[in-house]
Symmetry: C2
Subunit: 196 residues, 2 copies
Amino acid sequence: MTNLLPMADEPAPERSDAARNRQAILAAALELVRTRGVDCVTMDTVASVAGVGKGTLFRRFESREGLMAAVLNESEAAWQADVISGPPPLGPGAPPLERLLAFGHSRLRTNVTHGALIKAATGDSSARSRAAASFAVMHVRHLLSELRVTGDLVLLSIAVLAPLDIVVIEQQQRDNISLERIEAGWDDLVRRVVGC
Amino acid sequence: MTNLLPMADEPAPERSDAARNRQAILAAALELVRTRGVDCVTMDTVASVAGVGKGTLFRRFESREGLMAAVLNESEAAWQADVISGPPPLGPGAPPLERLLAFGHSRLRTNVTHGALIKAATGDSSARSRAAASFAVMHVRHLLSELRVTGDLVLLSIAVLAPLDIVVIEQQQRDNISLERIEAGWDDLVRRVVGC
DNA sequence: AATGAAAGCGGACCACGGTCCGTTTCGACC
DNA sequence: GGTCGAAACGGACCGTGGTCCGCTTTCATT
């Protein structure tokens, strides 16, 4: 008798066919998103291109948003790596304020270029997606603390990040506000929050 | 020969049956949202309760989001009236900083209580919905200007409003951050932006 | 290699948002 | 009241995300 009661946090290894299918699905989704644009990619199409049934997509990725979050993750992980260990001023080495501004600019550009995919991926409150959000909060919080900012740093971080949200940005673009102006406005905000 | 070329901005009066139907649809939608909750209200249901065909819903309200925006508008208009001409500190009469803080608190509460409906209504870039967004920007911009804040006031207004967005708020609530803490954090943000 | 059961699979099926177009209603003009 | 064009109507229809359940595959055990 070994382990009749379920152990908490057992990794639950993945069966070989399941792993194969997940790879196939991700590859198909990635390719389709790249060629057709995220809004023209249906779950049926992904399934047939990947050569699996539709049910398999939903078992592996929960929902369309979940699948898109997984696709997005490919580039997002690279970006996070740049932030953590890339060259300055985004990566470590530059003074904190410079890093913070570089972070915002980089996040802004990323949100604009991957806007459609990000919108297709957000709204799912999966662990992966929430982790992505909290990575940014964690990083900004860290930089604010290095800048000797006092107060509720988590809340301040959220407040500083909120205007970079793709939905907010797109609203401003519809109002014919240029990216440069948005960027300058954000810099101003940061300086005020940091305290001159 | 009168007016063969279409005149710009002619109000285009509404036929009597059209007006009647719009009223019936709005009433049905309002009632259904109140009793069942917005997420359980389908367009088919609204149509059948209102006693009209589904096509009529979409002709009048463009989309589900448009219909929900119309429903939301009922309460939103009352709120805007309070802001413009209600009692202080939300309405005129109080000093600008107090008004600004009261505005944020009020907006925060409203977003929390009407969260589901607001989420169902946003995303449509209809004139009505964009007007609602820009009303808030306009008001905050006005208060900031009274507070002698200098800089790109539109961008600052957007930045100050962004953390009050229902999506941002719900994320924080999932992280077990209390409303009081969110409120205090926002007050802090405002004070920093205004400049102590 | 045989076996058994759990994990995985897949595609028929459903619900809902949104469209289309033949039919009905309105109301301006005679 | 009759006529007629335009506007509005409504419900059949479609595409898409998501579910369900009977069948298949994997793999630990022997």
